[in-house]
């Protein structure tokens, strides 16, 4: 009896202790396995690779439904069936990609649980409700996708078609909600609320505060746009693959058109992506100047030079594709002489954007420069020059789209000439504003200069909007100089589409590493320290190897999916060769 009383006493005290210090109890439960391991490549690289490949597939399956549903709506309300068929083919690609996303998501979850169990328990304690909602949404998203695809032909008329379009919208709603939830987990690791410290028990953390943390919304916006860009690029690569494998002129025409749409979506949304990236960067700086400085000026800064080059490749490849494509548009020869000037502007833009502030130089070169900055080229290494370059490149790319769009048009509106002059004036004014603030930025303090980039962005977006509206009105009643000869595209143009897809993928990996790597030796910034053997931030060269390997694995799987797409059923070829004029 005395023993029992003693036992009851000990149990009561234990229960009290557990109640008062639940986090200690949690720590004891999982003591002995703070970190797991993975054969050959180590735990960190295993999780890194799984997360990266999962994200690449996820970006694809979130981006493609957005423009699939738009294409379906265009087909439905515009009466052009080829858009409907295009949307269906987009969606067919989604089915397998969706499974791949789920598989890699499961791999990532299991690797996280086995390799970083403490971190997993910590995050689960804060985000458990959102994790349950996440799987629920995932369930609904899956079945909506199946209904959307398999119901395509059944619900193809009247109100049923409207319902089908609703399914497409619902698919996007579920997909976006899933993304928002997952973003909250990773952004919490970057920017936990200020009141959360290393002593704050997970159970005491306000779940909504953690969910809607400082970088959550900027990441949401940045990723939503980037998903569209990425989806467009992968669809473009798929079309290029099909184009090169095509056996008939009809197939070539269809996939040429599909590639054009993919490129249009990718480059069109790429134009606004830098603005979303800039917003994310500003929010990061506001949250932690230290983190922001590590990202932009510290050891991650070299990634921005690589990024500048990769985005330069995107702009060059996207424009090149349009210029080559003008060879199959009657009337485009009027504009051909101007493309070389646009190319010169783009090349100068890439050169300026990719000029490093601190140059890789040997001892003699540093001595000759009189320091680490080049006395003349140093001016190109700062944000004033880079913002100016990228804005001018965006304007130039928009100009490419514009002349592509009006290549085979003959205006019938009486004010066409005036409209063209107004468009030209808008371009000139926007370029002048961009240049003015770019140069003026050197003469004011850094704190004033930061706002100049906003003025530059507004000028460029304003010009794009204004010129685009005028273009749409000028299209009214415009005559065609002849239909676009879809399919008559040289094969080299299709490699530009492959380059776009690979470059986007690589870019996502590199900048994803930058975003995640700025946490340095923290799992959760300044809250939970990484005490594993992989705590040190990897060198850029090592990171580049891991990311390149992820890109390779992703494309091997994507190639398999493309091949599978052709194996399952015959391509959905729409008759774009006749009657298509734009």
């Amino acid at each position: 009896m005395r023993l029992s009383l003693k036992l009851v006493g000990v149990m009561s005290l234990s229960a009290l202790a557990l109640h008062l210090f639940p986090e200690v109890a949690g720590a004891q439960e999982i003591a002995g396995r703070i970190y797991g391991d993975f054969p050959f490549i180590g735990g960190r690289v295993a999780v890194w690779g799984a997360a990266q490949i999962h994200l690449l597939f996820a970006a694809f399956v979130l981006g493609v439904p957005m423009f699939a549903v738009v294409a379906e709506a265009v087909g439905m309300f515009g009466g052009d069936q080829k858009y409907d068929k295009l949307a269906k083919e987009f969606t067919r690609l989604l089915l397998v990609a969706y499974s791949a996303t789920a598989i890699w998501g499961a791999i990532l979850s299991f690797l996280l649980i086995t390799i970083f169990p403490n971190l997993w328990v910590y995050l689960a304690e804060i985000f458990e409700v959102s994790m349950w909602i996440y799987v629920g949404l995932f369930f609904f998203e899956s079945f909506t996708l199946y209904l959307y695809y398999y119901g395509w032909d059944r619900w193809s008329q009247g109100r049923a078609k409207l319902g089908h379009l609703g399914l497409g919208l619902l698919l996007n709603v579920f997909g976006t909600a899933v993304m928002l939830i997952a973003n909250s987990w990773l952004t919490y690791m970057m920017s936990p609320p200020a009141e959360v410290t290393s002593d704050t028990p997970a159970s005491m953390i306000d779940a909504w505060g953690a969910f809607a943390n400082a970088t959550w919304m900027p990441i949401n916006i940045h990723r939503a746009i980037a998903n569209l860009v990425f989806g467009g690029a992968i669809v473009g690569a798929y079309a290029a693959y099909r184009f090169l494998m095509a056996k008939t002129d009809e197939e070539r025409a269809h996939y040429d058109w599909m590639g054009y749409i993919g490129n249009l979506v990718a480059i069109g949304w790429l134009i606004v992506l830098p603005f979303a990236g800039y917003y994310l960067g500003r929010e990061l700086y506001e949250y932690s100047p230290q983190m922001g400085n590590t990202l932009m000026g510290g050891f991650m800064s070299w990634l921005w030079i690589i990024q500048a080059y990769l985005i330069g490749v995107l702009f060059l490849a996207g424009n090149y594709y349009l210029w080559v494509g003008m060879g199959r548009i009657p009337g485009a020869e009027r504009f051909a002489p101007y493309t070389k000037y646009m190319l010169v502007v783009l090349v100068i833009g890439v050169i300026v954007w990719a000029t490093p502030h601190t140059m890789i130089a040997n001892r003699e070169e540093v001595d000759a420069m009189g320091g680490v900055y080049h006395p003349f080229l140093g001016v190109l290494g700062v944000m004033s020059a880079k913002n100016t370059a990228v804005n001018i490149m965006i304007l130039t790319t928009f100009l490419s789209f514009l002349i592509y769009g009006r290549a085979n048009k003959e205006w019938t509106v009486p004010w066409a000439k005036t409209g063209t002059w107004v468009q030209a004036a808008l371009f000139v004014v926007a370029a002048a504003i961009v240049m003015f603030y770019g140069i003026y930025g050197y003469f004011v303090s850094a704190i004033e200069r930061v706002d100049f980039s906003v003025y530059q962005v507004v000028a460029v977006l304003g010009a794009i909007f204004g010129v685009g509206i005028i273009h749409l009105f000028m299209l009214r009643g415009a005559k065609s100089r002849g239909a676009i000869r879809w399919g008559q595209m040289p094969p080299r143009s299709q490699y530009a589409l492959f380059i776009l897809a690979v470059t986007f993928t690589w870019l996502m990996g590199l900048m994803g590493f930058a975003r995640s790597g700025i946490r340095q030796h923290w799992h959760v910034w300044e809250v939970i320290q990484d005490t594993s053997e992989w705590a040190a931030t990897p060198a850029l060269g090592f990171a580049a190897i891991v990311i390149s390997a992820c890109v390779l694995i992703f494309f091997v799987l994507v190639a398999f999916i493309f091949w599978l797409g052709g194996l399952a059923e015959k391509p959905i070829v729409s008759n774009v060769g006749t009657g298509a004029s734009d």
């Binding site: 500003r282 700086y285 506001e286 932690s288 100047p289 230290q290 922001g292 400085n293 590590t294 932009m296 000026g297 510290g298 050891f299 991650m300 070299w302 080059y309 060059l316 090149y320 080559v324 060879g327 051909a336 070389k340 190319l343 783009l346 090349v347 890439v350 050169i351 990719a354 000029t355 502030h357 601190t358 140059m359 890789i360 130089a361 040997n362 001892r363 070169e365 540093v366 001595d367 000759a368 420069m369 009189g370 320091g371 680490v372 900055y373 080049h374 006395p375 003349f376 080229l377 140093g378 290494g381 700062v382 944000m383 303090s445 850094a446 704190i447 200069r449 930061v450 040289p490 931030t537």
Partner: protein
């Protein structure tokens, strides 16, 4: 000569050669003619510029079917035309020899210090310990700006500078001190628009106080020879030398953003 320059291949070669001379020599010699300082361009940057120009040229010659066919024609002829056998065989020898030479040059042992990928903007921590006291960097202002005479602070800063800093950072605050050439990387020039002009005074204070040994682990190794001046100077001496640096160079310190509480937003 004229017919070669009308051919896309000739034009491409000409553009590349002109670009090379403009970049390699133009950047060094043309700005001084206009009164701007310049210097030779480092090889790494020259290479990246030339690659960009080369890609641009390839895009230009290939964005039109006729031009692309014309561009390739001479190369195609050299590769298959029986009349071009001598040239073809010469190229078969010359190209591998050039590649071998370039390879040899790239792996040949050299006495030069290797070029390294460096970042020179260390991230200041949120807080740091200065002579035993913890200071929050965000919002840390130079206290001397709101007390005493600026002229006296300037004079005091000048004394501190000439007793401690001038050897490396130079009489003109341009990083050209007597010992400067012994260091790699060279000491920073405060005259440059990209050094103290982009920093809040608090970061400059941290940098001076902690010197090379206090630089953060990220981005290491830093190769900074600057001592941790908190071991030799008082807090006021450091703040006064900061006033001297800004006054003497005509730079304005960056200010903290009101909302952000940080001033490194670029």
């Amino acid at each position: 000569m004229g017919k070669y320059l009308k051919h896309p291949l000739g034009q491409a070669v000409l553009v590349f050669v002109v670009a090379y001379f403009l970049l390699d020599f133009g950047i060094e010699y043309i700005p001084p003619l206009l009164g701007w300082a310049s210097a030779p361009i480092p090889n790494s940057v020259l290479l990246q510029y030339l690659i960009t120009v080369g890609v641009g040229i390839l895009l230009w010659v290939s964005d039109n079917d006729a031009r692309w066919a014309e561009f390739k024609a001479p190369m195609h002829r050299v590769m298959v035309d029986p009349g071009q056998k001598t040239l073809r065989n010469s190229l078969m020898v010359l190209v591998p020899v050039l590649v071998a030479f370039a390879t040899f040059n790239s792996v040949r042992p050299s006495v030069s210090a290797p070029t390294t990928l460096r970042a020179i903007h260390p991230s200041a921590p949120g807080q740091f310990v200065f002579q035993g006291a913890t200071l929050q960097l965000a919002g840390l202002e130079n206290p001397l700006r709101s007390q005493g005479s600026m002229e006296e602070h300037y004079e005091e800063g000048k004394r501190v500078y000439y007793e401690n800093c001038v050897g490396c950072h130079g009489d003109g605050l341009d990083g050209q001190g007597h010992y400067a050439h012994g260091f790699n990387p060279a000491p920073l020039s405060f005259q440059d628009d990209n050094t103290i002009a982009t920093l809040v005074e608090a970061v400059v204070f941290w940098r001076i106080a902690k010197g090379g040994p206090g630089l953060p682990n990220e981005g290491a190794p830093w190769n900074s020879a600057m001592p941790a001046w908190e071991d030799f100077l008082t807090q006021d001496e450091i703040w006064s030398v900061i006033i001297f640096l800004y006054e003497q160079t005509g730079n304005e310190p960056r200010t903290f953003e009101e909302e952000a509480g940080g001033g490194e937003a670029e």
